[in-house]
């Protein structure tokens, strides 16, 4: 096993004992407060945005969604704090269990999931529903990171790469079949990041990228040409719609056009909560979930949207910074996966509202209304912080 400096386990093993309070102080000192502040600002900004976006949504209760979202943010913050305290090496030790668990809950959706708008994404857990694939993102990254960290010396071997890809494909395919194409894409992006950070050879990285491109081509064009429809027609239409937004103004690209209209109409300063007709008249579909960014852009304009993007950039920047300083290979790989998954979600969601990315049902992290996404993302940040706390290169106090 590797030996890590700065982790609790290593400390115990080397016999350096510190009081709990000391440990706690060091924990607090080593937390990336910039990242913390950025995430807090993001959540707060997201709540403020949602307050405006959903004001007209529930008759007589303009704060219905903000309150709900606030409760989820509080729950997520609690989850984040717990995650900060958990030693990441624990995830590594139990990475197989995590993997099995990931695949398990994905499978459970098919058995016990409820159908919403034609897809099975939700699990009913009595008081509320939750979306396993949101939490699955984190679990997926941790499980793969564990697998690859265990084979750190052999990441250059084709067999290792193939096994990792094979392992990853199981949850990816399960999510794809729900069907939740967008989240499956996030998983795939995370897989690529994990392999990249773990040290896969350039040749393999290139081969995988080529394969992904080929797969996309096959899904969208080649197989349908031979009469094999892997994607549902609406899916492939949405995926290709952004390449030709005026092809069919009535149906598939309706969402896209309304969304671009909302963003564009926002202008520099935004149309305000009252004046945002695209949002308030319901012309913009899914305006509090998938198209929340378009709504925000309409209400708050270039200024408001830019603030959000800057906050994301800050969070991601701090996330990238954690990778090289991570205490061990596992942490580095996990951090890489987490950062790229987040980046991918932000890009695809924001890009889709502006017509430069395919339309997929990916929520905007920390902003879109939805408990699972909010909690899962906050917990993910908690894991990132846990990695940061136990990183190298931070001067140990005497």
């Amino acid at each position: 096993m590797l030996d890590y400096a700065g982790t609790g386990a290593a400390a115990r093993r080397t016999g350096i004992r510190r009081s709990r309070s000391e440990e706690a102080t060091s924990l607090v000192r080593q937390i990336d407060w910039v990242l913390m502040g950025a995430v807090a600002a993001l959540v707060a900004y997201g709540l403020w945005a949602i307050a405006g976006i959903t004001r007209e949504d529930v008759d007589g209760d303009p704060s219905y969604f903000v309150v709900r979202q606030g409760v989820f943010a509080a729950l997520g913050t609690a989850g984040m704090l717990v995650a900060v305290l958990v030693d990441p090496s624990l995830y590594r030790r139990f990475s197989r269990a995590i993997y099995v668990c990931t695949v398990g809950i994905m499978g459970l959706v098919f058995v016990a999931g409820s159908v919403t708008r034609g897809s099975r994404r939700w699990l009913d857990v009595g008081f509320t529903q939750f979306q396993p694939s949101e939490f699955g993102k984190l679990l997926f990254v941790l499980a793969l990171a564990g697998f690859l960290a265990d084979r750190r010396r052999r990441t250059g071997e084709t067999a290792t790469i193939l096994r990792a890809v094979g392992l990853a494909l199981v949850p990816i395919v399960l999510v794809f079949l729900q069907p939740d194409f967008g989240t499956a894409l996030v998983y795939a992006a995370a897989l690529g990041a994990v392999l990249f950070v773990a040290g896969a050879r350039w040749l393999h990285v290139a081969a995988l990228a080529a394969l992904a491109a080929l797969a996309a081509l096959a899904l969208l064009w080649l197989l349908p040409a031979f009469g094999i429809e892997v994607l549902k027609p609406y899916q492939s239409a949405r995926l290709t719609a952004f390449t030709a937004p005026d092809s069919d103004p009535s149906d598939t690209t309706y969402n896209l056009n309304q969304s671009k209209l909302a963003v564009g109409a926002g202008g520099l300063r935004g149309r305000g909560v009252e004046g945002s007709t695209q949002t308030n008249l319901g012309l913009l579909p899914e305006h509090r979930t998938d198209f929340a960014f378009a709504s925000l852009a309409e209400q708050r304009g270039f200024v408001g949207a830019s603030i959000l993007l800057c906050l994301y950039l800050l969070v991601l920047w701090r996330g990238v910074r954690i990778i090289p300083t991570a205490g061990d290979a596992f942490s580095a790989i996990a951090a890489g996966g987490i950062v790229v998954a987040l980046l991918f979600q932000v890009f695809v969601n924001v890009g889709m509202t502006m017509g430069i990315a395919p339309i997929t049902g990916i929520p905007l992290p920390f902003v879109s209304v939805g408990g699972s996404s909010m909690i899962a993302n906050l917990v993910t940040i908690g894991v990132l912080q846990a990695i940061q706390i136990r990183s190298r290169g931070v001067p140990r106090r005497p």
């Binding site: 096993m1 590797l2 030996d3 890590y4 400096a5 010396r153 990041a193 990249f196 950070v197 040290g199 009535s250 149906d251 309706y254 309304q258 671009k260 209209l261 909302a262 963003v263 564009g264 109409a265 926002g266 202008g267 520099l268 149309r271 007709t277 695209q278 008249l281 319901g282 012309l283 913009l284 579909p285 852009a297 309409e298 304009g301 270039f302 949207a305 830019s306 993007l309 994301y312 950039l313 920047w317 990238v320 990778i323 090289p324 300083t325 205490g327 061990d328 580095a332 890489g336 950062v339 790229v340 980046l343 932000v346 890009f347 924001v350 890009g351 502006m354 017509g355 430069i356 190298r392």
Partner: protein, 646 residues
């Protein structure tokens, strides 16, 4: 594996690449945001501002149609119509189909028809499609209560045509319907879904009746649900009311008279009597007082989105034939041989051409031989010389055969004076009525025979048929064989006899009015003055002889309709006609009567009645005409039994 983890240059490079990707990604997002919001922001803003505003077309109330005394023949009633905004229908096919099926059930319109109409509008999703006009309260409540279940379905106010007198003057008034593509192409004012007149007055005077549609803007959300009140941008201008020359009471009497005539005909074993037409004209100016056609229909069948099954007699050729073409306005479109009612034309022409003098006698024999052919009189009972008035009164065929022969025998350089005079008296061309698709009828000439009977049309007989033979002139003299006239042409000719030789232009619409509230007199916006009656240069003496003959026909013991009119307190003059016409392969007698009254002062009314396959003129058409005179003069006649006359 005990070596410590450290940052390799390899990892550092890869992290740097990741950082680069993050920066590049955000650069792209910012640039795109900049492009949309700052560079094209104004343009998008404008589009978004119009996005939720819908232009509504506000239909103008169509003008009413009134009779000469202001009685309402057609008016509007406020109704509710069901509209579909195609853009707001559910996007999902299955959901849409389920919703439309339900809608079809509620408003009782076939689902297939809904589908077809929506498909036909697929290129224009922002114009509402009216799928049903005039829904019932319970349907309204259902749609309003379950509003959420019917996205894209709107109940809108609309006007519906209402017919207080139901079927009265149906063919004359016509009906309205949604504008067809050709009508839309032909009139830039019309929009998809507008109603226009489709037949009769509604069609001929559509420009006056329709008014100008207005427009309003309505804020709606994406489900098409209105947010706020419509803002009026253009006030609709209601259509003008039309005042007709028709008298509703006389019209009703005329239609009843036709049914009465048909009943009488059937009573006389003319079992095939199944239709008819009746025209009442004011001989002084050509104002149409009544214009009836039988069988008839209720124009209300066409109101709203009509039931196609009920409209089958109008749309389907076979069904129309079965119902004896109820939409056909026989008074102006029906073409019949005039039979003996044409004899006054022959008489006038013959006198004008000096082929006969009014009081010289010609033999009225039971039959007449010409070129080896025998032509019988309608009755073998006469065998005596007759003057022209008497020949008219007894309707002696053989007398007129001789005139026909005389016309035939004229040297070629004199042309065809009988046809020439018939043309001058209004036959063979339309009368210029302001409403409807008039038939010109047919005035057979030598030329016509030559043109009509071609090798292509009649490969075996054309060489014989294309020649004008003595029989053609002889038959034409009694209004038989090829000649075809409309009842309106006939009435117009009798008006000329009644008014002393002037050809009137019949007209139905007198003026357009602006209706006023509170019972004030309507403002006349436009008078439709027809051309003044045109004098046809007829010799007054000849005309007097014809009028004498017509008066004898209704009053002398030997008159063909004296049994009908002889005891009527107002003096009526007129002529019967029994015209043979091939109907479904057999010859049927078309029962005619045309005449006017009063004869002792200026004639006020001309009536021309026709009962299809009704047998003798005196037994069906004449009693029917009497009914109209009774209504007009407010006096009752004492017609007892039908007479069998020509």
């Amino acid at each position: 594996m005990t070596e410590p983890y450290r940052l390799t240059p390899q990892l550092a490079l890869r992290v740097a690449i990741l950082g680069g990707i993050v920066l590049a990604t955000f650069a792209v997002l910012f640039l795109r945001l900049w492009a949309l919001q700052i560079l094209s922001g104004t343009q998008y803003l404008r589009t978004a501002q119009n996005n939720q505003l819908r232009a509504l077309r506000l239909q103008a109330a169509r003008g009413a149609i009134l009779d000469r005394n202001g009685r309402v023949l057609v008016r509007n009633t406020a109704g509710l119509s069901v509209q579909i905004w195609p853009a707001d229908l559910p996007k999902d096919r299955a959901v849409r189909a389920r919703m439309l099926r339900r809608l079809a059930f509620v408003i009782k319109v076939p689902y297939a028809r809904l589908q077809r109409e929506i498909a036909a509008r697929s290129d224009d999703p922002l114009t509402p499609l009216t799928v049903k006009r005039g829904i019932h309260d319970d349907q309204l409540y259902h749609l309003e209560e379950k509003k959420e279940a019917f996205p894209g379905v709107v109940v809108a106010q609309s006007y519906l045509r209402e017919y207080p007198y139901r079927a009265l003057a149906a063919q004359l008034v016509g009906h309205v319907g949604e504008a067809s593509q050709e009508e839309l192409d032909g009139n830039p004012e019309l929009r998809l879904g507008d109603e226009v007149g489709k037949a009769g007055i509604e069609s001929a005077y559509d420009g006056f009746l329709r008014g100008e549609a207005g427009s309003a803007r309505l804020r709606v959300d994406s489900l098409g649900r209105p947010r706020g009140e419509p803002e009026l941008s253009d006030i609709p201008v209601g259509g003008r009311a039309l005042r007709l020359t028709i008298d509703v009471r006389l019209q009703r009497a005329a239609e009843q008279a036709l049914r009465y005539g048909i009943r009488l005909a059937k009573g006389n074993e003319a079992w095939n009597a199944n239709g008819g037409a009746l025209v009442a004209l004011d001989p002084r100016d050509g104002a149409v007082l009544a214009l009836a056609s039988n069988p008839t229909y209720k124009p209300s069948l066409f109101v709203g989105k009509p039931d196609l099954e009920k409209l089958a007699p109008f749309l389907d050729e076979g069904r129309a034939a079965k119902e004896n073409f109820p939409s056909l306005n026989r008074a102006i479109e029906g073409r019949y041989p005039p039979g003996s009612t044409f004899k006054p034309v022959t008489a006038l022409a013959a006198m004008e051409e000096h082929l006969v003098s009014p009081y010289a006698s010609l033999d009225c024999t039971p039959s007449y031989e010409s070129h080896g052919q025998t032509f019988d009189n309608w009755t073998p009972n006469y065998d005596q010389p007759m003057s022209l008035p008497t020949a008219l009164a007894t309707s002696c065929d053989t007398y007129f055969y001789q005139l026909g022969e005389a016309f035939y025998d004229l040297p070629p350089e004199r042309g065809q004076p009988l046809q020439l005079w018939a043309g001058r008296l209004g036959f063979g061309k339309t009368t210029g009525l302001d409403v409807g698709a008039e038939a010109p009828g047919l005035l057979p000439t030598i030329d016509w025979r030559r043109r009509y009977f071609t090798r292509e049309r009649y490969p075996r007989t054309w060489e014989q048929e294309r020649l004008w033979k003595p029989g053609d002139s002889i038959q034409l003299a009694i209004g038989q064989k090829d000649i075809q006239v409309t009842p309106l042409q006939m009435a117009r000719f009798y008006a000329l006899v009644a008014n002393g030789g002037k050809l009137v232009t019949p007209h139905v619409v007198d003026r357009a009015e602006q209706p006023m509230r509170n019972g004030r007199r309507p403002i006349v916006l436009q008078r439709f003055t027809p051309p003044a009656p045109q004098p046809v240069d007829v010799d007054p003496g000849a005309l007097a002889a014809v009028r004498e003959g017509l008066l004898l026909a209704t009053h002398a013991g030997f008159g063909t309709s004296s049994g009908v009119f002889g005891s009527f307190p107002v003096s009526i003059a007129g002529k019967t006609g029994t015209a043979e016409k091939a109907v479904n392969g057999r010859l049927e007698d078309q029962s005619w009567w045309c005449g006017y009254g009063p004869t002792d002062r200026t004639a006020e009314i001309v009536v021309c009645a026709l009962i299809e396959n009704g047998g003798h003129g005196g037994s069906a058409a004449a009693p029917a005409a009497l009914k109209v005179f009774e209504q007009y003069f407010g006096r009752r006649g004492t017609f007892v039994a039908p007479t069998e006359t020509d």
